[in-house]
């Protein structure tokens, strides 16, 4: 846990950006940023297909599948990401077979647990965006596809999804922004991502201000890129009225 810094409030040194722009502290922070970006990329790649599957489950004609999809979404998004992290890091490994456990501990178990938690969490939110995007396409489009002889999946793939994409991508990008911010919570299980490294630098150098300015700017820059992507997409591919 972080120590309280109240004791040295009176002797806070002047801001010295050089400290985090080069040298060992800089390297620590940059390695943290890299790991954060990796968490973002891996989770994104895993979440998107999982979210699509869950969304299709929720829209399927079979009641049991719909119920399963709904249970997945509700049970995951109503629990804080932090609790997911704690569960997958501290709780779940107990249940794994010995061989998997050995493999996990040989790998980076912190990061893997974080990716599992982030993926489940993000995909639950993304599946809702995909689902409402699909529902935004009028039902007659689906009927028209089926009437031409396409099956459920083929109609989805050829008729509905291409139209739903334009509605769905902007909220998906906004979920990606949430995911980016969510990677910081991996700190609690000791994943050495950006937030973790900022706290490390802080406690090693007692330069909280510099470390946090670096981390904040890094988080903001990536957020800016993600938000920019959303505006670009909405401008380039506006929703076509049917």
């Amino acid at each position: 846990m972080l120590p309280n810094r109240a004791a040295r409030q009176s002797c806070m040194p002047d801001f010295d950006p050089a400290l985090v722009l080069a040298g060992p502290y800089h390297d620590l922070l940059v390695s943290g940023l890299k790991l954060s970006l990796q968490l973002l990329a891996i989770t994104f790649v895993l979440s998107l297909p999982l979210a699509t599957i869950v969304a299709l489950l929720r829209l399927s004609p079979l009641r049991a599948l719909r119920w399963f999809g709904c249970a997945y979404v509700e049970s995951i998004r109503n629990v804080p990401l932090l609790a997911h992290m704690l569960f997958w890091y501290f709780g779940a490994p107990e249940l794994y077979p010995e061989s998997v456990k050995h493999w996990l501990y040989a790998m980076n178990i912190e990061a893997i647990s974080a990716v599992i938690a982030l993926t489940l969490y993000t995909s639950a939110f993304m599946s809702e965006d995909i689902r409402s995007g699909i529902r935004a396409v009028p039902a007659v489009q689906f009927e028209a596809g089926r009437a031409m002889g396409f099956g459920f999946l083929a109609t989805m793939r050829l008729v509905i999804l291409p139209q739903a994409t334009r509605v769905t991508v902007p909220p998906l990008i906004s979920q990606t922004l949430n995911l980016w911010k969510g990677t910081s919570i991996a700190t609690v299980i000791g994943v050495s991502e950006l937030m973790y490294q900022a706290a490390q630098v802080e406690s090693a150098s007692f330069r909280s201000f510099e470390a946090f300015v670096f981390a904040t700017l890094a988080y903001l820059s990536v957020s800016l890129l993600i938000t920019g992507a959303a505006s670009w997409y909405q401008h380039r591919y506006p929703v076509r009225p049917t």
């Binding site: 309280n4 806070m12 501290f90 709780g91 249940l95 911010k181 919570i185």
Partner: protein
């Protein structure tokens, strides 16, 4: 598992209270409620500033909102943790630190809800109120906000759900809210991490799912699906 609940339920609910500070689930709820209630007036002001015709007000507020929305809550918590003692000149406890971070963070999200609520009304309402001779602020207060707030009610409940989930970050600064208490129980029991964290998850789920359903019901009852949606 029954034994686990039987032994620790009180600790889980109130922490060491009355023999020590209040903690556990009750602290989580108090923190979330207080956070949202205090963030409301601030969010309302920011939201109105965001749609106001005065650029000198609109631009700085828009910039602040963008910065906070682009920053993880944990970063805001860290900033509060380290800057509050410097700013106030004395030691700040974890509860206050977390509360300040939550209020800042929630106010910005509420501002977006307020803005969306205002924007969801037909432009004719503001125009018509102005044509009667009301000033911009008068029209906002008497005509636009009363309608917008009603549309916003479900979003507010959903924001409360988010706030409850956000309080879990108190764990990181050692605030004895329910996640932290669960971790303490886990350390004491040691052999049942799976069960401890399942119970923690179930607790959050019951609370948040119940509230989400309530928000959904409000939405159906008052807005008939016409309520506003804010990109998270």
């Amino acid at each position: 598992m029954i034994e686990l609940i039987d032994t620790y339920w009180l600790f889980f609910l109130v922490g060491q209270y009355p023999n020590g500070p209040l903690g556990g689930l009750s602290l989580t709820l108090i923190l979330a409620s207080l956070g949202l209630v205090l963030a409301l007036p601030l969010g309302l002001l920011l939201g109105i500033a965001r749609v106001s015709p005065f650029a000198a007000l609109r631009w700085p507020v828009t910039a602040v909102i963008f910065v906070v929305r682009g920053t993880p809550l944990l970063m805001v918590v860290f900033w509060a943790y380290f800057s509050l003692p410097v700013l106030t000149g004395h030691k700040t406890d974890q509860f206050t630190t977390m509360l300040v971070a939550l209020v800042v963070f929630d106010a910005v999200y509420l501002a977006e809800i307020v803005r969306a609520g205002i924007k969801s009304l037909p432009a004719g309402q503001m125009e018509c109120a102005r044509s009667l001779g009301l000033s911009w602020l008068g029209a906002m207060r008497l005509v636009v906000l009363p309608q917008a707030l009603r549309h916003m009610l479900p979003s507010l409940v959903n924001q409360f759900v988010s706030t409850i989930k956000e309080t879990s970050l108190g764990y990181i600064i050692g605030l004895t809210e329910v996640s932290f208490i669960a971790a303490q129980i886990n350390t004491q029991v040691f052999t049942m991490p799976m069960q401890v964290y399942l119970i923690l998850g179930l607790t959050y789920f019951t609370l948040c799912f119940g509230l989400s359903r309530f928000a959904y019901w409000l939405d159906r009852r008052f807005n008939r699906g016409a309520s506003i949606r804010v990109a998270a």
